[in-house]
């Protein structure tokens, strides 16, 4: 099972691609909304997570806290992976 740091790294690189940030590295504790995510780009990220880790986070009752930053989302994903 991947550790939280590895998931965080993956989510950061996906964020750079989805939000077209170029070489900029997104801050891990900035809320996803403030990073520039909207519902469409969020679904893109969740689909990318589903492809890589096989977890459908959208149906797992995501909370405001989970989307409070890449770090929070990585922690949530890690705990979901631990349960499977």
């Amino acid at each position: 099972m991947p550790d939280i740091a590895e998931i965080e790294k993956y989510l950061s690189s996906e964020t750079s691609v989805i939000l077209r940030l170029g070489s900029k590295i997104p801050a891990c504790d900035t809320p996803l909304k403030s990073l520039g995510y909207n519902s469409m780009s969020l679904v893109e990220l969740l689909l990318s997570i589903e492809r890589r880790y096989g977890i459908q986070l959208l149906n797992k009752g995501l909370t405001e806290k989970d989307l409070g930053g890449i770090r929070n989302l990585a922690q949530r994903l890690h705990s979901e992976l631990a349960q499977t």
């Binding site: 940030l21 909207n38 519902s39 469409m40 780009s41 969020l42 969740l46 689909l47 959208l58 009752g61």
Partner: protein, 428 residues
């Protein structure tokens, strides 16, 4: 000096088709951005900015043309010494105020200009500056960037040169991408049939009249209440799905009330495809993705879950980006024929039951224009004659605005009001 050509992308071309269909029934395809101001701005400063903005966005004075070599449509910039059309009027009450906006929305922009301005002065010392854009060339989000640049031109601080519009395209040799987009589009269209026959408000042979609208302007507390309700029912950052679900339920109820037999209502929702920093201006850059609301759905929870599922399906196949490319395959065709494909043959001679547009990115950063404080920005678009009804929403600072835009002869004002009120109506 030879100017670069601004080729139409697939959405610009779809917008030209929609303009063709709208024009055939009396009103050009255009939209107004209404800037609510705390006082009256300096008219001379507005006129100066109206002349300077042309050097930033030369497409404001342009004409649709076709390249003789590759027969692809593009916008040809027409150099001019004139300034953007600008008039001033006064409103003594709310009805006169709405009437000024209505006449502005329905009248065509003169000459080759793709932008016109109107200042409405109110008796209480406030005012509104209206920006009317040609939708063939500009979309709502791009227009907000232009309005923001316009505001900066009226200040001492001048806009950054990076705001200048750059030519793109012509995307002519991306055959593989275009055919793959065509395949995805067709597969999605075939798969959509499983939802059954969508209901429409337009009768066969019926023609639409003028464009009309009703607005619902919500302040900070009401916006927060909607956000909280959306977070609870749809989950965080899913407000677009939540609003479409509310809108879909209201449209379904109205269809049922009118006795229209249908399996579902089809709602094409326009999504802004802009990403990254700095935000690209370009021409039209939105994609319509159609959601289907089965007629059996009655509660907001069911509706939201169903639309979330459809949203994931749409995103999984990369449908929104396909729309931008697929229409390019029809570019060699005359506009009249190409228009038939899009505006006449989908969903029982309509583009859907009702359209929906959400501009929530908020590209207007300026706080004032020509000495007047900006209080709110509202998007008021014209809807195509078919389906003749649409809901549009934008976020401006602490406000969230909803506009029911409709065409007389298709929908009555009371029905448009019922649909608009559906946003704030409590749903079990």
């Amino acid at each position: 000096m030879k100017t670069a050509l601004h080729y139409h992308n697939g959405i610009d071309y779809a917008a030209s088709w929609l303009d063709f269909a709208s024009r055939a029934e009396s009103v050009p395809y255009q939209f107004v951005l209404e800037l609510e101001l705390a006082s009256v701005p300096d008219e001379n400063t507005i006129r100066r900015a109206a002349s300077e903005i042309l050097s930033f966005f030369p497409l404001i004075h342009s004409r649709r043309a076709r390249n003789m070599l590759n027969i692809a449509p593009y916008q040809r910039i027409i150099p001019t010494d004139k300034t953007i059309p600008f008039d001033v009027s006064e409103a003594k009450d709310e009805n006169t105020y709405d009437e000024h906006i209505r006449t502005f929305l329905n009248s065509e922009i003169s000459g080759d200009f793709r932008l016109a301005l109107r200042l409405i002065k109110n008796t209480d010392g406030t005012s509104s500056l209206l920006f009317k854009f040609d939708h063939k060339v500009f979309d709502g989000a791009g227009a907000e960037i232009i309005v923001d640049t316009f505001c900066r031109l009226t200040h001492i601080e001048k806009p950054d040169e990076s705001f200048k519009q750059k030519p793109e395209g012509p995307w002519l040799n991306e055959w593989k991408t275009q055919f793959m987009a065509g395949r995805t589009f067709n597969r999605h269209k075939i798969a959509s049939k499983k939802h059954g026959i969508p209901g429409v408000f337009t009768e066969e042979g019926e023609s639409a009249g003028k464009a009309d609208f009703i607005t619902l302007r919500l302040g900070r507390d009401e916006k927060k209440a909607i956000e909280a309700q959306s977070d609870e029912i749809a989950g965080p950052m899913m407000m677009s799905v939540f609003i479409v679900a509310k809108f879909g339920l209201a449209v379904s109820e109205l269809l049922r009330e009118k006795g229209a037999a249908s399996d579902c209502c089809a709602i094409p929702v326009t999504i802004d495809l802009r990403r990254g920093q700095p935000t690209p201006v370009m021409m039209n850059h939105w994609a319509p993705v159609t959601f289907f609301m089965p007629s059996g759905i009655k509660t907001i929870k069911e509706a939201t879950d169903e639309l979330k599922r459809q949203f994931c399906e749409i995103m999984r196949i990369g449908y929104p980006e396909c729309i931008e490319k697929v229409n390019l395959l029809t570019r060699p065709l005359p506009l009249k024929i190409a228009s038939k494909f899009f505006t006449s043959n989908i969903f029982r001679a309509s583009t859907g039951t009702a359209v929906c547009g959400l501009a929530w990115q908020g590209h207007l950063a300026s706080k004032s224009i020509a000495g007047a404080e900006i209080r709110n920005l509202v998007h008021i678009p014209v809807v195509p004659p078919k389906p003749g009804i649409g809901l549009f929403s934008n976020i401006s600072g602490e406000n969230i605005n909803f506009v029911a835009s409709f065409r007389t002869g298709v929908i009555e004002r009371n029905d448009a009001r019922y649909i608009l009120d559906g946003i704030t109506r409590k749903t079990e």
